[in-house]
């Protein structure tokens, strides 16, 4: 069977590396980097919010790639990886909404606004969370993998819409930052935390895909052999 349900040593290595980098990047962002001119210390939320947002997009893009691989190449490992990437993407997307709400309150004056970026992100969360929830209602692994791969491809359409929403529509949310628009004093903690969350995401997807693969192995395993029919003497012995 084409499953990656082996030992998760690499996942724990990436998790350890991610935690170390996240501690270093967050320390730099909180205590070493200067406060921003207008937002002051509140801008320090950027060092966790932006890396989380980047990696959310990456997780959903990986789920999209796995969906295409499952449909065109076949192989159960792609279904496990797709499920894992979707779940990790949803967790990161919910986290990015929470971080964004906490940043929005002191800067916009509200926790939430039905602004294009926020609305399309909410759609993204509900679309992928819905696919994950519906997967539990389909018992046949082949049907479940096929329709959820198709649904993932459809839901992925929202990812570029989230990315370009700040350019296409009049949004409260600021445009994407680039090295040209962000002072060099802010680069390092941002980059370190981006790699930290990337490594944590790789660890989480790796471990979660093993959980899905172990469940698939149980589902796809042949049923245990039926007990051999007992002869008359043996049956009489058994009922005695």
């Amino acid at each position: 069977m084409d499953l990656d349900d082996g030992r998760p040593a690499a996942a724990f290595f990436f998790a350890g590396l991610g935690v170390l980098l996240l501690l270093a990047g967050s320390y730099w962002g909180l205590f070493v980097a200067p406060a921003e001119t207008y937002m002051g210390d509140v801008q320090r939320i950027m060092y966790v919010h932006v890396p989380t947002a980047w990696n959310t997009m990456l997780a959903f893009t990986f789920a999209f790639g796995c969906a295409l691989a499952f449909l065109f190449l076949g192989g159960w490992k792609w279904d496990s990886r797709m499920e894992a990437a979707m779940e990790v993407g949803v967790v990161l997307a919910v986290l990015v909404c929470m971080q964004g709400a906490i940043w929005a309150k002191p800067t916009w004056g509200v926790w939430w606004d039905w602004d294009p970026r926020l609305t399309t992100t909410a759609v993204l969360v509900f679309a992928f969370a819905g696919i994950l929830a519906l997967r539990h209602f389909v018992d046949d692994p082949v049907r479940r993998a096929t329709w959820s791969a198709v649904a993932t491809i459809v839901a992925f359409v929202d990812v570029p819409i989230v990315y370009y929403s700040v350019r296409w529509w009049n949004s409260l949310h600021q445009m994407q930052s680039t090295p040209e628009t962000v002072s060099s004093a802010f680069h390092w903690p941002l980059r370190i935390n981006a790699f930290a969350i990337l490594f944590l995401m790789i660890a989480a997807i790796s471990l979660r895909s093993r959980i899905a693969a172990l469940r698939l192995r149980t589902e796809l395993a042949p049923p245990p052999p039926a007990p051999a029919p007992q002869t008359g003497t043996a049956a009489a012995e058994a009922t005695r």
Binding site: G40, D41, L95, I211, L214, R215, T218
Partner: protein, 51 residues
């Protein structure tokens, strides 16, 4: 916010954002490890039953 439009203070929001991030990432990590152990034990049990 001061009359100049500069946001003053706000460390409580920074602490909240980092605290929520740590709690979500740590909490999800713990559930993953527990679910992996449980899935591995279930698969091992199923393998023994079928053999």
């Amino acid at each position: 916010m001061s009359p100049t439009g500069v946001i003053e203070g706000g460390w409580e929001f920074v602490r909240a954002a980092y605290g929520v991030s740590a709690a979500v990432l740590l909490g999800y990590g713990v559930t993953l490890v527990l679910r992996f152990r449980s899935a591995r034990a279930r698969a091992e049990r199923a393998r023994k039953e079928s053999s």
